[in-house]
C-alpha cells in the first residue's frame, strides 16, 4: 500500500470520527453533558489523535490531544459544558475538517490556527489534564499478548477498536442476564439473538463432530481425527463457558472424557465415539431448547428404494434424458442446500424465492421435455411454497419435509435421479468435487451478501484443510474462554447489537466509488449480453422447430440439435441467474443508509437557526433507509435547501411562536422510508405554514396574472406556486433564503432524477414536503414504445396508465385532441409529431395512449405500438458538445442497437413550444382544467 493509499484511508477514517464528534457535540448542546456522548467524543478525539500521530501530522495530533484532555476534564466534572465550549469545540472540528481537505489536495499538513489550541487551553485552564488513553493502549497491548494463538482472528479484527472499547469499561457494563441452571435444567437465555448465534454455531460444530466420528464407524479413530474431535469439543466448551452454561460445560467435559476413554480402549473406537456423541446430542437437545441436533440429516440414502418403482418417464432419447436428469439433479441439490439443516429458524424470504425460482426453472425444463407429470408435481410444490410464503412462516425443517414429500414421486418418475443427496453433499469428504458443484458454490458465494455465511460454508468441501481454516473463522464468532475479560465484553457488546450476519461482515472494505460504478457498468453490459443470449437461444429453438417440421433432417441429426438446444436453454437460464444476482449484489453494494446524508444536517440546522435567532429541533426518522449512493449524493443540496427554507420561512421566531401558543423552539422532522421502488423523504416543520393569500398577492403583482385566473386555483394548487422561480412570501431578501431562488431549481433537479415533490401545508400549523425519488438511478424499469418505426424507452416511474387508442373516445376541442379519463380532460400528443419524425400511419389498432405524468400534470402520449416493459441500464451519452433535449439518456437493447430514453418533463416543455402558435387555445383549454398559463 502506498503512502497515498494510507493518506486516503486516514482522511476517510478521520472524517468519520469527525462526523461522530460533531453529532455528539450537537447532542450535548441539546441535552447537556451526558456520559455517553462525552465518551463518544473522547473516543473519536482519541482515534483521530492516534491516526494523526501515526501519519506524522503533529499539529492535528496536538489539537486532538488537547481536545481529548479537555474531554477528560469534562468527564471528571472539572469542566462544565457551556454553549461557548460547544462553539469552540465545533470550531476545532471545522478546523480539522478544513485541514483534511487541504491534506487531500496537497498531501501535507497545513498550519492550524494556533488560536484554537489557545482557546481550548484557556477554557480548560482550571482543569488538570490526565493522560488516560496512553495507559489504556499499553494495557490493551498486554491483554493482546496474553491471548493464545487460537484467538488470533479476534485479535486482528478488533485491534483497532480495543482502546476505544476499553474506555467504555469505566461505564458500568450491563452484562446480559444469564440464568445459571442447575443440573439438567433447561437453559433460558434472555438475549435471544445471542442465544441463537450460540445455538447455530453449536449446531455447526456438533455436526462436524458427528461427521468426523461417523467416518470411522468401523475402525479405530486415528490420532489425527481424535485431535480434531477434541479440538471441536474444545470449541464447544469455550463457547459454552463464554455463555456461562455450566450444565453444558459439564456435559461436554464428560463427553470429552468418554471419548478419550473409548479411544484408549482401542478397537473400533470410532463406533463408540459416535455412540457417545449421539448420546450427548440427545442430552444437549434437552438442555438447549431449539437446538435440533438430531432431527435434520434429512437424507434417505437407501439405494434400494430408488430403482424402478412407479411408472417411470419413458424417453426414446436416452442421452437427452440423461442430460435432463443431470441438470434436474443439480437443481434438486441446490434446492436441498437452501435448507441444509432442519431447524426451527424460519426461512428468509430470499431463500424461499430462490427455492421457488429453482422450481420454476425445473418446471420449464420439464415442460421443454414434455414431461407433464413432472411439471404437475413441481407446480404443486411451488404452490405449497407460495402458500407458505404468503403465510410468512416456513421453518427449515418444514421446508425439508416438503422437499421429502415431493422428492419421492419425482424419483418414481425419474428413476435415474440420484436422490441420495448425501453423496453429493459436501459433508462427505470422499465425494470428489464436480465442476458443476463448484459453479454452484460460486453462485452461493455471490449470494453470500444475504445468506448467512454458515450456509455458503456448507457448500465447501470439508476436507481436513477446510476444517482447520473454518475453525479459525469460527473463532470470530465464538471467542475462547481464555480471552481477557475486556475482549469478551467487547465481543458480547458487539453481538448484542449486531446479528450474526453483521458480525461476520464486520470487516468492511473501503472501495473507490468509481470502481463500483465501473463494475456496475460492466454488469450493465452483462445484462445486455444476457438478453442477446436469450434472443439467440430462442431463435435457435425456433429454427430447430422449423427444420423439424420440414423433415429434412435425419432423426439423429435432429436429436443432436435438440440436445444442443436444451443445453443452450439451460445455460441461458444460468447466465440470466448469475447476471441478475450479480446485478442485485452490486446494486446492494451501492446502497447506503440515508444516515450518511442525514447526519450532516443537525449541524446545518444548528448553524442556520443560530444565525436567524430561532430555536429549532431536528428529529430524524428512518435514517437506516437504504438508497443508491448516486441518488444519495444528489439529494444533499435539495434537502439542505428545504431545511434552510423551513428554518427561514417555516419556523417563526420564538416570541411569535409564544404568541401563537406554540413552544418557543420549532421542530423539523426529517423522515425517510421505502415506498415500493422509491424512497420517500418528508421534511415537516411546525411553523407558520404557507400563506396562500400572500402567494396570490405576489402572483398578482409580480407575475401579472389576472385575479380571475387566480380565483380558479384552489388553495392546494396555489401552494405549488412556491416552486415558481422568483416567488417568495418572505417580505425581504436576506442571505439565508427569501430570494425566491431555490425551490424551482430544486424541483427541476428532482424531476431530472425521476423524482417528485408534494407539498401540504396548514396555515399556522406547519408545512410538509414529501419528496419521492427512485431507489436507484442506474437501472430502471422502462416501457418500450414505438414512435414511427423507432423504439423509445419511457421510465416506468412517469407512466401512470396505458390505454388503447380508440378513435371514438378522442374528442377535439378547438383543434386539440383530448380524451376524458375518469372526468379529467387529458390532452393528447402524438409521439411522432412531438419528435418531428415522420409519422407512419400505423393501424390505429396498434396504437396506445401512454399517460405520462410529471408531478402535476398529465399528458396522453399516443404511440404507434407497445413493446413491453423491461429493465434498462441508463447510459449517458458520451458527448458533451451537444444538448440532447427531450432525452435523459440512452440504453442499449438486446440486439445491440441504441434506444433513446424520453425525458418526460422536457418532453412536455417541448410540447408547449411546438404548440406555441396555438397557445391561446391551449391556455383556454388549460384554464378549463383549473390550470393556467402565463404570458
Amino acid at each position: 500500500m502506498s503512502s497515498q493509499d494510507f493518506l486516503i484511508e486516514y482522511i476517510e477514517e478521520v472524517r468519520e470520527h469527525l462526523q461522530e464528534l460533531e453529532e455528539s457535540l450537537l447532542i450535548m448542546e441539546r441535552d447537556g453533558s451526558e456520559n455517553n456522548e462525552i465518551n463518544r467524543i473522547f473516543r473519536a478525539a482519541h482515534s483521530i489523535k492516534g491516526a494523526s500521530a501515526y501519519m506524522g501530522f503533529e499539529q492535528l495530533a496536538g489539537l486532538t490531544h488537547e481536545l481529548e484532555s479537555f474531554m477528560s476534564a469534562v468527564q471528571n466534572d472539572e469542566q462544565a459544558i457551556t454553549p461557548e465550549v460547544i462553539t469552540t469545540l465545533l470550531a476545532c472540528v471545522d478546523a480539522i475538517s478544513g485541514a483534511l481537505n487541504y491534506l487531500q489536495e496537497h498531501g501535507e499538513e497545513p498550519q492550524l490556527p494556533p488560536m484554537l489550541l489557545e482557546n481550548l487551553q484557556t477554557l480548560r485552564s482550571s482543569s488538570r489534564s490526565e493522560d488516560l488513553p496512553q495507559d489504556e493502549t499499553t494495557q490493551s497491548n498486554t491483554q493482546k499478548e496474553n491471548q493464545g494463538n487460537d484467538t488470533l482472528q479476534i485479535d486482528f479484527s478488533l485491534d483497532a477498536e480495543i482502546p476505544i472499547e476499553v474506555c467504555d469499561q469505566r461505564e458500568p457494563d450491563a452484562k446480559p442476564p444469564v440464568v445459571h441452571p442447575g443440573p439438567n435444567e433447561i437453559i433460558v437465555e434472555e438475549d435471544q439473538e445471542l442465544f441463537s448465534i450460540f445455538l447455530s454455531s453449536f449446531r455447526e460444530q456438533f455436526a462436524k463432530l458427528r461427521d468426523l466420528s461417523r467416518n470411522y464407524e468401523d475402525k479405530a479413530l486415528p490420532d489425527k481425527e481424535l485431535h480434531a474431535v477434541l479440538d471441536l469439543i474444545g470449541k464447544l466448551l469455550s463457547s459454552s463457558q463464554y455463555m456461562d452454561y455450566e450444565v453444558v460445560v459439564g456435559h461436554l467435559q464428560e463427553m470429552e472424557a468418554d471419548i478419550l476413554r473409548v479411544h484408549e480402549e482401542g478397537g473400533e473406537s470410532g463406533k463408540h465415539c459416535a455412540a457417545v456423541i449421539e448420546n450427548s446430542a440427545r442430552l444437549f437437545e434437552e438442555i438447549l431448547p431449539g437446538l435440533n441436533l438430531l432431527a435434520p440429516e434429512p437424507v434417505s440414502s437407501d439405494p434400494v428404494a430408488i430403482h424402478g418403482i412407479g411408472e417411470a418417464i419413458q424417453e426414446e432419447d436416452q442421452e437427452l434424458l440423461h442430460i435432463f436428469t443431470d441438470s434436474f439433479q443439480q437443481q434438486m441439490e441446490e434446492l436441498f442446500r437452501l435448507a441444509p439443516k432442519a431447524t426451527d429458524i424460519s426461512m428468509e424470504s430470499h431463500r424461499l424465492e430462490r427455492a421457488r425460482s429453482i422450481l420454476k426453472k425445473l418446471s420449464s425444463s420439464s415442460q421443454y421435455m414434455g414431461y407433464e407429470p413432472i411439471v404437475d408435481i413441481l407446480t404443486e410444490w411451488d404452490e405449497v411454497l407460495e402458500e407458505a410464503d404468503v403465510k410468512g412462516v416456513l421453518s427449515d425443517a418444514q421446508f425439508l419435509e416438503i422437499f421429502e414429500h415431493f422428492r419421492l414421486p419425482l424419483q418414481k418418475l425419474l428413476p435415474e435421479l440420484q436422490v441420495s443427496l448425501i453423496e453429493t453433499l459436501p459433508t462427505d469428504p470422499q465425494q470428489p468435487d464436480t465442476i458443476d458443484s463448484e459453479i454452484d458454490a460460486s453462485f452461493d458465494r455471490l449470494e453470500a451478501f444475504s445468506i448467512p455465511a454458515s450456509e455458503s460454508k456448507e457448500t465447501k468441501p470439508t476436507n481436513g484443510e477446510a476444517i482447520s481454516s473454518e475453525s479459525e473463522a469460527d473463532q470470530e464468532i465464538i471467542p475462547s474462554a481464555k480471552e481477557s475479560p475486556s475482549i469478551e465484553k467487547t465481543e458480547r457488546k458487539g453481538r448484542t447489537v449486531a446479528s450474526g450476519e453483521e458480525a461476520q461482515g464486520a470487516a468492511t472494505l473501503r472501495v473507490d466509488a468509481q470502481k463500483v460504478d465501473q463494475l456496475l457498468n460492466q454488469v450493465g453490459e452483462l445484462v445486455v449480453a444476457r438478453s442477446e443470449f436469450i434472443q439467440t437461444s430462442t431463435s435457435f429453438r425456433e429454427i430447430l422447430r422449423e427444420l423439424a417440421a420440414q423433415g429434412k433432417l435425419s432423426k439423429q441429426e435432429l436429436r443432436r440439435l435438440r440436445q444442443l438446444s436444451f443445453r443452450l436453454n439451460e445455460s441461458t437460464l444460468s447466465l440470466g441467474r448469475v447476471a441478475n444476482d450479480l446485478q442485485n449484489s452490486i446494486m446492494r453494494v451501492r446502497m447506503l443508509p440515508i444516515s450518511y446524508l442525514f447526519q450532516r444536517f443537525p449541524r446545518v440546522v444548528r448553524d442556520q437557526a443560530l444565525k436567524l435567532g430561532k430555536r429549532v429541533d431536528l428529529i430524524v426518522q428512518g435514517a437506516d433507509t437504504e438508497i443508491d449512493k448516486r441518488v444519495l449524493e444528489q439529494m444533499h443540496d435539495p434537502l439542505v435547501q428545504f431545511l434552510r427554507n423551513a428554518i427561514a420561512h417555516g419556523i417563526e421566531p420564538p416570541d411569535e411562536r409564544r404568541r401563537a401558543g406554540k413552544t418557543e423552539g420549532g421542530t423539523i422532522r426529517l423522515a425517510a422510508y421505502h415506498e415500493g421502488d422509491y424512497v420517500a423523504i418528508e421534511i415537516e416543520d411546525d411553523g407558520r405554514g404557507i400563506d396562500t393569500r400572500k402567494l396570490r398577492e405576489t402572483l398578482l403583482n409580480r407575475k401579472g396574472l389576472s385575479a380571475e385566473q387566480l380565483e380558479r386555483l384552489t388553495d392546494r394548487e396555489m401552494m405549488y406556486a412556491i416552486f415558481l422561480p422568483g416567488i417568495s412570501t418572505h417580505g425581504h431578501v436576506d442571505g439565508n433564503a427569501g430570494r425566491g431562488v431555490g425551490l424551482d431549481v430544486v424541483k427541476e433537479n428532482l424531476e431530472r432524477m425521476s423524482g417528485s415533490i408534494e407539498v401540504e401545508s396548514q396555515l399556522g400549523k406547519g408545512t410538509r414536503f414529501t419528496i419521492r425519488i427512485p431507489l436507484t438511478v442506474a437501472i430502471i424499469r422502462a416501457l418500450m414504445v414505438q414512435g414511427s418505426d423507432q423504439s423509445f424507452a419511457i421510465p416506468l416511474s412517469s407512466v401512470s396508465e396505458i390505454l388503447r387508442f380508440e378513435q371514438d373516445s378522442v374528442h377535439t376541442i378547438e383543434s386539440f385532441q383530448v380524451i376524458t379519463l375518469r372526468g379529467k380532460t387529458i390532452p393528447l400528443v402524438h409521439l411522432g409529431e412531438l419528435l418531428r419524425i415522420s409519422s407512419q400511419d400505423s393501424p390505429s389498432s396498434h396504437r396506445f395512449i401512454v399517460i405520462v405524468a410529471t408531478s402535476f400534470r398529465e399528458v396522453g402520449l399516443v404511440v404507434d405500438g407497445l413493446m413491453g416493459e423491461r429493465e434498462i441500464v441508463i447510459k449517458s451519452i458520451e458527448d458533451s458538445a451537444y444538448d440532447y433535449e427531450g432525452f435523459s439518456g440512452a440504453t442499449i437493447l438486446g440486439d445491440g442497437t441504441v434506444s433513446l430514453i424520453l425525458d418526460v418533463s422536457a418532453l412536455l416543455r417541448m410540447m408547449k413550444q411546438s404548440q406555441k402558435q396555438d397557445s391561446v387555445e391551449i391556455e383556454r383549454l388549460s384554464i378549463n382544467e383549473n390550470t393556467m398559463r402565463v404570458h
Binding site: 458527448d879 433513446l900 416543455r909 388549460s926
Partner: protein, 191 residues
C-alpha cells in the same frame, strides 16, 4: 484501415511530433481530401446501425453503440456544409472516424479513409485567406500541398466547438424565451 496499425503508429507519432513531424489520417468527402491529426482519432469503424435522434440538428445523424458506449454520429459533410451529393450511407467505403476530444467522443461520417500520412510540420501552410472549397476558414487549421493534390487539415476542435453549437441553439431558444418572457418553462407544469 486496421486498428492495430493505427494504435502502434500513435505512439510513434507522439515521438515524432517533437521531431517536427505530424501524422495525419487523410479522408475524403466528395472531391475534397482532408487530414486530421492522428492523435485525436480513436479509431475508424464501418458504419454501424444508427439510431436517429429526433429533434436534433440536421447534421447529427443519431446515436451508435460503440462497445457499450453511446456516442453521437455527425455527418461531416453536412457539418462543414459541403455542397454536392448527399452522403451515401450504403457505400462500402463509408467510414466513421471516432474522434476523442475534450472528454467527449463523437463519430464523424466520411466518404472514405485513404491513408495515414507523415508530414513535416513546416509543410503545413496556414489557411489561405481565400476560402477553400467553400469551407469556412475557421474549421481549417492549414493546408498541405502535395504533388497533384491539396489536403485540408481540419481543426476538429472548431468543428466540435460547443459554443458555436450552443449559439445555434440559443438563437432558437431565445426566440422562444422572448415569447415566454416573464414566465418560465416551469409554470405551466406547476399550476
Amino acid at each position: 484501415m486496421e486498428m492495430p496499425s493505427l494504435a502502434s503508429r500513435v505512439s510513434r507519432a507522439e515521438r515524432e511530433e517533437s521531431e517536427q513531424f505530424k501524422q495525419l489520417v487523410s479522408f475524403r468527402i466528395g472531391e475534397e481530401e482532408f487530414g486530421v491529426d492522428i492523435l485525436v482519432v480513436q479509431e475508424i469503424i464501418r458504419l454501424p446501425t444508427i439510431t436517429p435522434l429526433p429533434n436534433a440538428q440536421r447534421f447529427i445523424l443519431g446515436m451508435i453503440n460503440l462497445r457499450g458506449k453511446i456516442i453521437p454520429v455527425i455527418d461531416l459533410r453536412k457539418r462543414l456544409r459541403i455542397s454536392g451529393r448527399k452522403s451515401n450511407l450504403n457505400d462500402r467505403k463509408t467510414r466513421v472516424l471516432i474522434v476523442e476530444m475534450q472528454s467527449s467522443v463523437t463519430g464523424f461520417i466520411v466518404d472514405s479513409v485513404s491513408e495515414v500520412m507523415r508530414i513535416p510540420v513546416n509543410e503545413i501552410e496556414p489557411t489561405p485567406h481565400l476560402v477553400v472549397s467553400n469551407i469556412e476558414s475557421e474549421y481549417i487549421k492549414g493546408v498541405i500541398k502535395l504533388p497533384n493534390r491539396l489536403v485540408i487539415l481540419l481543426d476538429f476542435q472548431q468543428v466540435l466547438r460547443p459554443q458555436e453549437v450552443r449559439e445555434i441553439q440559443n438563437a432558437h431558444i431565445n426566440t422562444i424565451e422572448g415569447e415566454l418572457l416573464g414566465s418560465s418553462p416551469g409554470i405551466e407544469s406547476v399550476l
